[in-house]
């Protein structure tokens, strides 16, 4: 069977600089894959290219066997790829509920006509959108529901913003979810909790997940497979144990163990 996502010889150049040079990568249905690598190794560019925000200069991206090259970001999303952003980009002035409702845009279809004449189908769809949004928010426990539903997103704490961003990605009903540093800036207990949630995203909701992360604890806990990028090419790939002992990876990314230093 073909891979859920397959990337062949992907190249991206910015003003003469190679951000990605000949990247090959794949994810299978139901996997959790971590992508790690030094700053500037092209990890976020990699996500941006998959989701159509950046046009690659060469190579191909196949999702469920079909190329997604040249598609607008919204088309990529409606095919079933959702993402979060490294620097949390919510719709800050929309309420928490609205943030999740609006993300169902590509799974719904009512337009001006329905809204103006308040057709049955329109009302039914609105109801469904709302229900689904509440269901998704309920996944994060009591933090994002209740009176918070109608609170603007900018009122949320840092950790809750990250959670809401994941909820919003879930609302697009993807098959593949791309998480860009989901625990950055979180404290240890929040990190531990989110790590567990990521596992449940797969087991309960059936998402396939690709994560970019610097926190090795998270990488170690959630991933089936780890891919290390450096200068736009994978330098190692395999289980966490294999990768973390790879001398190239230690050299380029992990550095010497911290303890030996002090």
């Amino acid at each position: 069977m073909s891979h859920l996502l397959e990337i062949q010889n992907l190249q991206v150049t910015f003003g003469g600089l190679d951000a990605l040079s000949g990247l090959n990568f794949h994810v299978d249905e139901g996997e959790i894959v971590s992508v790690i690598g030094p700053n500037g190794a092209g990890k976020t560019t990699f996500f941006n290219t998959i989701t159509g925000l950046v046009e690659p200069t060469g190579g191909d991206i196949l999702f469920q066997g079909d190329s997604v090259l040249g598609l607008e970001p919204n088309e990529v999303t409606s095919l079933g790829i959702a993402r979060t952003f490294q620097n949390v980009r919510l719709f800050p002035n929309m309420t928490i509920l609205e943030n999740v409702m609006v993300a169902q845009h590509c799974r719904t279809s009512q337009n001006v006509f329905g809204a103006l004449f308040q057709t049955k189908a329109f009302k039914k769809e609105e109801q469904e959108i709302r229900q689904r949004a509440e269901e998704i928010l309920g996944f994060f426990g009591s933090r994002l529901v209740g009176y918070r539903l109608d609170q603007a997103a900018f009122m949320l704490s840092y950790a809750n913003r990250r959670r809401l961003e994941i909820a919003r990605a879930m609302a697009t009903q993807p098959r593949l979810m791309l998480l860009d540093e989901p625990v950055a800036g979180m404290n240890p207990s929040e990190t531990a909790e989110l790590t567990e949630l990521i596992g449940r995203l797969r087991s309960e909701w059936g998402f396939t997940i690709v994560i970019i992360e610097h926190d090795m604890a998270v990488v170690k806990n959630v991933s089936d497979r780890v891919v290390v990028l450096d200068h736009g090419v994978p330098i190692a790939s395999g289980s966490y144990e294999e990768v973390s002992t790879d001398p190239d990876v230690i050299e380029a990314y992990l550095g010497r163990p911290v303890e030996s230093h002090s």
């Binding site: 910015f14 003003g15 469920q64 079909d66 190329s67 997604v68 040249g70 598609l71 607008e72 088309e75 409606s78 095919l79 079933g80 799974r107 009903q173 993807p174 098959r175 909701w205 059936g206 998402f207």
Partner: protein
């Protein structure tokens, strides 16, 4: 829960893009046909192709074409000088200072008042060079102060507002300046005094017939451009400007007084518009409160054509736009059989803006401002 979306055609061009493609093809087609018809006309006015859309075509003489180029370029110089201000403010603050055209108008008005006072004393004729220098200095001063004051009053409090708010404010400022001048000096068109003979008369340079005042305009422009280039590229202030343009917070961490640099930017832009204002007055010898509006918008077009944030680009954009606006009606529209082409000069300028943004949104000479840079 994971949705399955299958059987959908995945490679499709959005309708909008197809429409835009048609528009682009049409535009290019029109321009090409018009231009070819023009060439046909030039070869022989009796050519069927030339007569196809415009039976009365006569073609243009070489001198006529040269004249169009010169008048286009001299118009373009103003767009370029004003565009510098747009470009600099956009580079540093990231918003379009819609009121910048009005700064130009204010300078032209100051020039008119001062020049007429001199003319009333007879000094304008007897001691033209000195008068001109004083008029120029005075006007540049007034326009600089206007630019700086608008920054202080209207834009500084909005430093951290959403992007469109300063733009809307600047529309208001533009309205205020226009109507204040109208209220204070009256609505009529005011005339500059006569130029001395030696400046008004036509001269021949490299077979181009060009009036002395136009030569003066070009010279003054070259001098001011050189000064500006030196300021931005070679001085510490210029380096600070570029730093502020990129990251205000970090610039202030370097000890740069960000407010002062922004004021300097407005002042320099205002001074450039000031130079343009006086030159405009001398060349066209008429100003009214609306003088700044169209040149202002066209100068913005020029800034976009040249790639906003790029100073050399702003000047080249101005020259390009001026020439296009002067030449295109005769060269492309007339052969297509459009009557009264000179009326469509302004429409041509706006069409150029739309075309540039359609074909090359970063401008002809623009450095690409990536999303990260602006975020």
């Amino acid at each position: 829960m994971a949705a399955t979306v299958e059987g959908k055609s995945k490679r499709r061009t959005p309708l909008v893009d197809r429409f835009l493609f048609v528009v682009k093809v049409l535009l290019i087609g029109l321009v090409t046909i018009g231009f070819l018809a023009f060439i046909a006309q030039q070869i022989s006015p009796d050519n069927w192709f030339a007569k196809w859309r415009n039976p009365g075509a006569t073609g243009l003489s070489g001198d006529q074409i040269k004249g169009l180029v010169i008048s286009g370029l001299s118009q373009g110089v103003f767009y370029g000088l004003i565009a510098l201000g747009y470009s600099m403010v956009y580079g540093v603050l990231g918003f379009i200072n819609f009121a910048h055209g009005e700064v130009f108008m204010v300078s032209a008005y100051t020039g008119y008042i001062a020049a007429n006072k001199f003319a009333a004393n007879g000094m304008w004729e007897s001691n033209f060079a000195l008068c001109l220098l004083i008029v120029l200095l005075l006007s540049v001063m007034v326009s600089t102060v206007t630019a700086v004051l608008t920054e202080r009053i209207a834009y500084r409090p909005l430093r951290n507002s959403p992007r469109l708010i300063p733009l809307i404010t600047s529309i208001g400022v533009s309205f205020v300046l226009q109507n204040a001048v109208l209220g204070i000096f009256g609505p009529g068109t005011q005339g500059y005094p006569q130029l001395p003979e030696w400046l008004a008369k036509q001269r021949s340079i490299l077979t181009f017939e060009i009036s002395g005042i136009k030569i003066l305009v070009f010279l003054v422009t070259i001098v001011s451009m050189t000064g500006l280039w030196y300021l931005v590229e070679r001085t510490k202030t210029g380096k600070a400007m570029r730093a502020v343009a990129e990251d205000k917070e970090i610039a202030s961490l370097m000890g740069i007084n960000v407010n002062r640099i922004i004021v300097t930017t407005f002042a320099v832009g205002g001074a450039m518009a000031g130079v343009a204002g006086v030159m405009f007055g001398l060349l066209f010898r008429a100003v009214n409160p609306m003088t700044g509006f169209l040149p202002g918008i066209k100068a913005f077009t020029a800034a976009v054509v040249g790639g906003i944030g790029n100073l050399g680009g702003a000047m080249s954009g101005g020259l390009a736009l001026g020439s296009a606006e002067s030449i295109a009606p005769q060269l492309i529209l007339e052969p297509l059989g459009v009557p009264g082409v000179t009326q469509l000069k302004d429409a041509v300028a706006f069409t150029v803006l739309v075309m540039v943004l359609l074909f090359k949104p970063s401008g002809l000479f623009g450095e690409r401002l990536s999303q990260e840079d602006r975020a």
